[in-house]
Every structure is written in structure tokens, then in C-alpha cells.
């Protein structure tokens, strides 16, 4: 316990973080110009398995209400929007991402980071999350806007693969989306350009995958939860662009350098854990510090695979642009995989990333992630003997974060983990004598 007593405040600022701030700042300026000066047209999309390549190919602006909602939460300005939605009839028990966004949408759509334009198209990429369908159905009704439900069949076959029919169905729908984008943008699809974008997505996937592989090193060069989320925004908003490629080149170089230097995000890495579930955005810093003080570093996270899962080998293929976008949506993201596939994903992380423990952050808003995580805990503790901690709060609603309670649980967990390590080390030492 003695070593953990001092709180370690984490320094966030690497080159990658600064570049991210800069690029996302420019992205939000573009979004604001669309809203305020009518410059460009916005396509609303959802993060899970997003087909941003198509939107980039028409120079349309991808707008993700999830990113807007999480920015509101990070900037501690979500609650009034959530409450506004609740006054309109949304339940306490509805996803607070949706409520924050609806509250924003029905007002002047001004936030501390951008003004959000009305959509030229509401493209509901239904990849796993059923709340997505509700969310965009509501937005479409509120603005009387054009909506297209891009239906992605869930992975349900025992093989864990989509069927040939699933792929054909998605490709056919992507072709319909292209037709709609042609109408909205007033230009025909430039197929060669789409191939270029998809090629750059492939390169981005390659670099992102290598970055993620680096956390197998001891110490891990960065935190695969708290620092990965910084890299996720460029991954979704800028994937397929030159700028996006540049960002990931810079990030990869920086992280490789850290590996060479043997440095990590904390002065000392004492525990390596896998984390499952989305972060508590309204208290991200507080939450991070609760782990940092124990020298605990996340070496892999499921949340960083919501928009796409690249570390197990998937790459976009410029020779089959639509098929590979379809495959990305169907198979290569955590949300469209069934719950047991997520168990196996975490199991691989535990084994291949050399983790000591699993932390499950259960959020009320996102039942796609959370419903049934008690069974997941059962599997990891009883069948695999992996120490597992389950804590609850929320992704968006600040009313569900109880710092004292979460702190107690985290402290007790790492204390016992430390004890186990000591006993284990003593046994090893005893054995050697």
C-alpha cells in the first residue's frame, strides 16, 4: 500500500496529443463553417464500424453525434442538454449520449467546441447498437431530414464470420448510399478517388495496428485506454485523408521512440490491465488518476475497437473498396461481434499483451457494451482465473459517477492484486532456494 499512497498526476502532452488537438480543431472549424456559412454539407453517421471513406469520397463532412456528445461530457457541459431531453419525455433510463445530443439538436446546436450543422443526410450505420436506430429515427423526425438505415447483419454464425449473402446485402446498400451522396453532393462518384481513400484507410489501419502492438512491450509506451481515445477521433473523422495518414505516422514514430527509450505514461509500470467498456467522459481525468496512483497501465481496451478492429489483421483493400468497407462494418469492429467474441477478444488481450487483470467499466447508457458483463466477469474469474474488477458509472451522465465508491473499489482491487503478486514473488523466491 505504501507505494500507492501518493497520487500520480498524469502528463498527457506528447507530440501526438498536440497534433490531435490541432487537427481536430481544424475539423471542428470545418463543421462550424458548414453550420454557420453553409460551406459544405454534413452527413450524420455513427462511430461503430463507420464507412467514412464513402463520405470523404464526395467531400461531404462526416458529423458524429457521438463525438459531439462525448465532447460535451468532457467539457462538463452535457447535463443541461440531458435535462432538456428529459423534460421532453426521454427517460432517466435512456442512453444519455442520445439525450445530450437531442438536447443540443433541438436548440441552437452551439457548443464550446463547434456549431453543429443540420444534416444533408442522416446515415444510420446500424452496426450492432440498436439505440443507434432510435437515435437517428428521432433526429430525422425532428428535422424532417433524409434518413437511410444502412443495415449491417450482426455476426451470429458459429464461425464468427459474415455469410456471403451478408456481404452482398451490405455492398448493395453501399451502392444505394453512393447514389444518395451523388444526389446530395451533385457529383458522380470518382471511383479512382474512392480507391485512393480506401488505400489510405488501409495504411492508417496498418499504422494503428502497429501502434496497438507496441503496448505488448514492458513497460507499455502509452496507455491503451486513456491515450488511445486521443487517437480515436482522427481515426474516425480523418481516416482516408492525407492529414489522417500524417497523424498516424507521427503517432507511430513517437510511440516507437518511447519503446526504444523504455519509457511509458507513468514513472513506473506496476500493473498491466485490460479494460472493457467505454470511459466515463465527464470524469476522465479523475478516473485515470485512480489507476495511475497504483502504477496501473491499460495495455489494451475493447473501447478502442468500436470504430474498427485492426490489430488482428484486417486492412482495407483498395482493389475491393466496397467489399472491404462492407467487411469492416460487418466483422472488423467490436460492436457487430457477438458478446462471446468479445470474451475471446479480451482473452487474447490478456494473454498476448501480458496483463495482470481485467477491469470492466460498466456504463448504464450503453447496454450494448454493458448488458451481461456480470457473466463476462464470471467467465474470466471462474474459468480463466483472471482477477477481474467490475465498476459502474456512465459514459455521459455526470450524475452516475460516484468517485468515493469507485475509488474504494479500485483501491481494494489493486491492493489485493499487489498482495497476490507479493505472495507469488515470495513463493518463486522460496522455490529457487
Amino acid at each position: 500500500m505504501a507505494q500507492a499512497a501518493e497520487a500520480v498526476k498524469t502528463s498527457y502532452q506528447g507530440q501526438m496529443h498536440l497534433l490531435q488537438k490541432d487537427m481536430m480543431g481544424r475539423y471542428f472549424e470545418r463543421v462550424t463553417r458548414a453550420a454557420e456559412q453553409g460551406e459544405g454539407k454534413a452527413v450524420y453517421m455513427l462511430i461503430s464500424g463507420n464507412p467514412v471513406e464513402l463520405v470523404q469520397a464526395f467531400d461531404l463532412i462526416p458529423v458524429y453525434p457521438e463525438i459531439d456528445a462525448l465532447q460535451l461530457a468532457v467539457k462538463k457541459s452535457a447535463l443541461p442538454f440531458i435535462q432538456k431531453a428529459e423534460e421532453l419525455g426521454y427517460s432517466m433510463d435512456n442512453c444519455a449520449y442520445v439525450k445530450a445530443d437531442v438536447g443540443l439538436f433541438l436548440g441552437d446546436r452551439k457548443t464550446p467546441f463547434a456549431t453543429i450543422p443540420l444534416p444533408a443526410l442522416i446515415l444510420c450505420n446500424y452496426v450492432g447498437c440498436n439505440v443507434y436506430l432510435q437515435w437517428f429515427e428521432h433526429l430525422a423526425e425532428y428535422c424532417d431530414g433524409q434518413i437511410y438505415n444502412l443495415d449491417i447483419p450482426f455476426l451470429r454464425d458459429p464461425s464468427g464470420q459474415p455469410s456471403a449473402e451478408d456481404i452482398t446485402y451490405v455492398v448493395r446498400q453501399l451502392e444505394e448510399v453512393i447514389e444518395i451522396c451523388e444526389r446530395i453532393s451533385g457529383k458522380k462518384l470518382d471511383y479512382a478517388r474512392l480507391k485512393d481513400i480506401v488505400r489510405r484507410s488501409g495504411e492508417t489501419g496498418e499504422m494503428w495496428s502497429r501502434i496497438k502492438g507496441l503496448t505488448k512491450n514492458i513497460p507499455s509506451p502509452f496507455d491503451a485506454y486513456f491515450d488511445s481515445v486521443t487517437m480515436m477521433a482522427p481515426l474516425y473523422c480523418l481516416r482516408g485523408t492525407e492529414e489522417g495518414v500524417r497523424f498516424f505516422e507521427t503517432a507511430l514514430k513517437e510511440m516507437e521512440e518511447k519503446v526504444r527509450m523504455g519509457t511509458g505514461p507513468l514513472p513506473q509500470e506496476r500493473f498491466r490491465f485490460i479494460i472493457e467498456g467505454p470511459p466515463p467522459w465527464p470524469y476522465l481525468r479523475t478516473f485515470r488518476d485512480l489507476f495511475s496512483k497504483w502504477g496501473a497501465v491499460a495495455v489494451a481496451s475493447t473501447y478502442s475497437t468500436v470504430g474498427g478492429l485492426w490489430e488482428f489483421g484486417f486492412r482495407h483493400d483498395a482493389n475491393r473498396p466496397l467489399e472491404s468497407i462492407a467487411q469492416h462494418m460487418l466483422q472488423w469492429n467490436v460492436t457487430n461481434r457477438n458478446f462471446l467474441q468479445r470474451y475471446q477478444q479480451i482473452r487474447r488481450y490478456v494473454e498476448e499483451w501480458h496483463a495482470d487483470a481485467l477491469v470492466i467499466h460498466s456504463v448504464k447508457s450503453c447496454r450494448l457494451f454493458s448488458a451481461g458483463q456480470g457473466d463476462m466477469r464470471e467467465y474470466f474469474t471462474k474459468e480463466l482465473n483472471v482477477p477481474t474488477l467490475l465498476i459502474e458509472s456512465d459514459i455521459e451522465d455526470p450524475r452516475y459517477f460516484s468517485e468515493a465508491q469507485i475509488k474504494n473499489r479500485i483501491d481494494a482491487f489493486f491492493e489485493s492484486l499487489e498482495h497476490k503478486k507479493m505472495v507469488h514473488a515470495a513463493a518463486e523466491a522460496g522455490g529457487a532456494v
Binding site: 431531453a85 421532453l88 419525455g89 426521454y90 427517460s91 433510463d93 435512456n94 442512453c95 442520445v98 437531442v102 446500424y126 447498437c129 440498436n130 439505440v131 436506430l133 432510435q134 429515427e137 428521432h138 430525422a140 423526425e141 434518413i147 437511410y148 438505415n149 444502412l150 443495415d151 447483419p153 450482426f154 451470429r156 454464425d157 455469410s163 449473402e165 451478408d166 452482398t168 446485402y169 448493395r172 446498400q173 444505394e176 457477438n338 458478446f339 462471446l340 470474451y343 460498466s362 448504464k364 450503453c366 447496454r367 450494448l368 454493458s370 448488458a371 451481461g372 458483463q373 456480470g374 457473466d375 464470471e378 467467465y379 459502474e392
Partner: protein
């Protein structure tokens, strides 16, 4: 008691004690028939039936089963039916099933399918992805392929090939069942004093538990008898009930709502078993007919997102068609589809000037005083306005 009243009280008691007793008893008498449990909302039961098996509704556990194990697997903010269904499994109460099928209705139900797979390896757990793109010309093809996959899976389980002929017969049989249930609802809509919502509910619910042939003969006997009733209408408001398409409220609550002063002219209880407002054609390709009926001729629901027409418009139309003067939203606690829908319904109802009351329930609830008082207050505000 008339023969109908006898029948009603027998089934009511059975449903109240344990909704699955009827199935268990049936299985004891027919040990060789395989049973497939159907989680709400909609299952293409014809596919299961045509493979020589009996599809039965696994629609929660009622309010007499204590949740002692499932709440460590699913959190406090997950609805009752997910937990009670898992509890049934963990306490060995689903041993009579050979398979169970879940669908893409909501996030907890989807994860529940996986949890079932891990915890009950002997049970065949299927999962249907129902399409949510209702405008693409390719959607029906997709759903046909999904039904074909499912059929192959059920053929393997039953050891019986599903022929077009058998499938057409199953469609005709379930058409007949759905038609009789529609008759029942029509009877209630025309003269709600002659058939209570609870009676209608019990008569419909047993259809999810018995072979369709048996249910059909029960309804064929009951409906003419019900037509002979000539009760005097009471001074009650007439409402449409919406929001209970998945988890089902306790029977006492259904009864209490009406007793509090309203006639419920239409509802969405057991909606998946009443999914089609007209018959599915029996000529042509039966799989395609089933798929096409789902996309183009099925009822609106919180678990289907049809961008061709707003859901709220369907509700408003229903209110107008039935001649109801108000809407009762009865949503299961923590049911995201129903609770989200409510926000749209509220907006549309207010725009149309149709009064409504929103209540939440849980299948496991025991105390109904509060719900009853709220309905009474609502009714009074309308009667003495």
C-alpha cells in the same frame, strides 16, 4: 360458470402461477416432439413448425419467480425479462426446450443470446438478425437468405427436411390462428364490455404455449360464445394501450388498468404473435412470402425502424380508427425501445391534442396500487373535464 368462464379461470390460474407450466405438461405428454423457445418479439414460427417441432413463447417468468442468480450476470439497469429468462435457465426450468431463438430487438436481448450459448451448451441457441433497412430493394433477398440459414439449422436439429408443401401448410395454420386472434380483438374493439382485456390476453397468451391446432379449436369454441354476451357498457373512457410489445405486465395489472375506469380497445401485448394484420399468401415461394410479409405487411413496433412512415403516425391512426379518446403508454422499466418511442409518441399525441398517460411496469411487480391510482386520476380528469 359458462364453459368459457371455466376455461378462462383455469388458464388464468396456470399463467399466474407459472406461465410455462402449460408447455411443460404438454411436453410430458409428447416427449418425442422437440420444442423451440421463442424470445419476444417476433419469430417466424412457421419455419420451426414445418420442421416438425413446436415453437413456444418464452416471454418472461411472471411475478412469482425469485431472481436469485441472474442479477449477478445482468446489471440493475437491465429490464426484468432479460433477467427472468436467464433465471429460468439457471434454475433448470427450461430443460424441456431443445432450442431457443433470440433476435436483434435490443442490445440486452442480443447479449442474452450469447450468455445463453455459454451457460447452456446443450441448448441450440439461434439468433435472427431482422433487417432494419425497409427501403432497399435488396432487403427481402437478405431476409430470405436469413430464413434459409435458419431453416437449415432447424432441419439439422429435427432431422426433418422442410419442404415447400410443409411450410405452406404451417403458414396456413398460423394464418388461421392469427385470424382468430384478430377476430377476438375486433370483438373487443366493437364492444369492450363483452370481452375484457384480461380475457382477451389470456386467450391470446395460451396460443404462445400450445400447439396452434389446439389453440385454434379453443378460439373456435370461445368466439361464438363470446358473441352471445350482451353486457351494458360502463361509464369508462376508451383508450389504446402501447409499449408492452416485449416484456409482459402481470395479469393483475392488466385487470387493474381496466377496473380503474377504462376500456382498452387495442394494445400491443404479445405483439410478435399477432405480427401480421392480414394473411401471408400461401401460393408461390413460401420463404419469400414470409420475408416479404415481414418487410411490407407487418405491424409497426418499437423494434422495427421503418423510415417510410413515422411510428407515431401509426399510433395516431390507431387511435382514430378505434375511436379511442386517449392513449395509455405502458412501458417496461428499462426497456429502451419503448422508452425512446415514448418521446416521439408524446410529441405526436400533444400535437394532435390526444391525452395520454405514461406508466412503467415490471413483470415481477406485486403492488399495483400506484398504477391504479394514476389511471383513476387520469380517467377522472377526462370524465369530468
Amino acid at each position: 360458470m359458462t364453459s368459457f368462464e371455466n376455461l378462462f379461470s383455469r388458464y388464468r390460474e396456470s399463467l399466474e402461477n407459472s406461465p410455462l407450466d402449460l408447455v411443460r405438461e404438454w411436453k410430458d405428454r409428447h416427449p418425442d416432439t422437440k420444442l423451440i423457445g421463442c424470445y419476444p418479439v417476433y419469430t417466424p414460427v412457421e419455419l420451426i413448425h414445418a420442421a416438425g417441432m413446436l415453437p413456444v413463447g418464452i416471454i418472461g417468468a411472471g411475478n412469482r419467480l425469485e431472481i436469485a442468480h441472474a442479477d449477478s450476470r445482468f446489471q440493475s439497469f437491465v429490464c426484468s425479462i432479460v433477467k427472468s429468462t436467464l433465471e429460468l435457465g439457471l434454475t433448470e426450468r427450461l430443460r424441456f426446450l431443445d432450442g431457443i431463438v433470440f433476435h436483434s430487438i435490443c442490445d440486452p436481448a442480443r447479449n442474452l443470446g450469447s450468455v445463453f450459448k455459454r451457460n447452456f451448451p446443450d441448448l441450440m441457441v439461434e439468433y435472427i438478425h431482422f433487417p432494419q433497412n425497409m427501403t432497399s430493394p435488396h432487403t427481402v433477398d437478405y431476409l430470405v437468405s436469413e430464413y434459409r440459414r435458419l431453416t437449415a439449422s432447424y432441419e439439422q436439429l429435427s432431422g426433418k427436411k422442410v419442404t415447400d408443401g410443409a411450410l405452406k401448410q404451417s403458414i396456413a395454420l398460423y394464418n388461421e390462428q392469427r385470424r382468430l386472434v384478430r377476430d377476438l380483438y375486433a370483438l373487443r374493439r366493437e364492444a369492450p364490455q363483452n370481452l375484457s382485456t384480461l380475457e382477451c390476453y389470456v386467450l391470446t397468451r395460451i396460443g404462445t404455449l400450445l400447439p396452434p391446432e389446439e389453440h385454434i379449436s379453443i378460439l373456435q369454441a370461445a368466439i361464438p360464445e363470446l358473441r352471445q354476451r350482451h353486457e351494458r357498457p360502463k361509464d369508462r373512457i376508451r383508450v389504446v394501450l402501447e409499449g408492452s410489445f416485449c416484456e409482459q405486465p402481470p395479469l393483475e395489472l392488466i385487470e387493474g388498468l381496466e377496473a380503474a375506469g377504462c376500456y382498452i380497445l387495442d394494445d400491443d401485448f404479445l405483439l410478435g404473435w399477432r405480427w401480421f394484420p392480414k394473411d401471408i399468401p400461401t401460393d408461390g415461394d413460401p420463404l419469400r412470402n414470409l420475408a416479404n410479409a415481414y418487410i411490407n405487411h407487418s405491424v409497426y413496433s418499437g423494434v422495427k425502424h421503418d423510415s417510410r412512415e413515422p411510428k407515431s403516425k401509426h399510433l395516431i391512426d390507431k387511435v382514430k380508427e378505434t375511436g379511442a379518446s386517449a392513449v395509455l403508454i405502458l412501458a417496461a422499466k428499462f426497456c429502451e425501445p419503448a422508452l425512446f418511442d415514448y418521446a416521439l409518441y408524446k410529441r405526436a399525441l400533444e400535437k394532435e391534442g390526444i391525452p395520454h398517460l405514461c406508466l412503467e411496469f415490471e413483470e415481477k411487480m406485486w403492488i399495483f396500487d400506484r398504477a391504479r391510482t394514476e389511471v383513476e386520476t387520469f380517467v377522472e380528469s377526462m370524465l369530468f373535464e
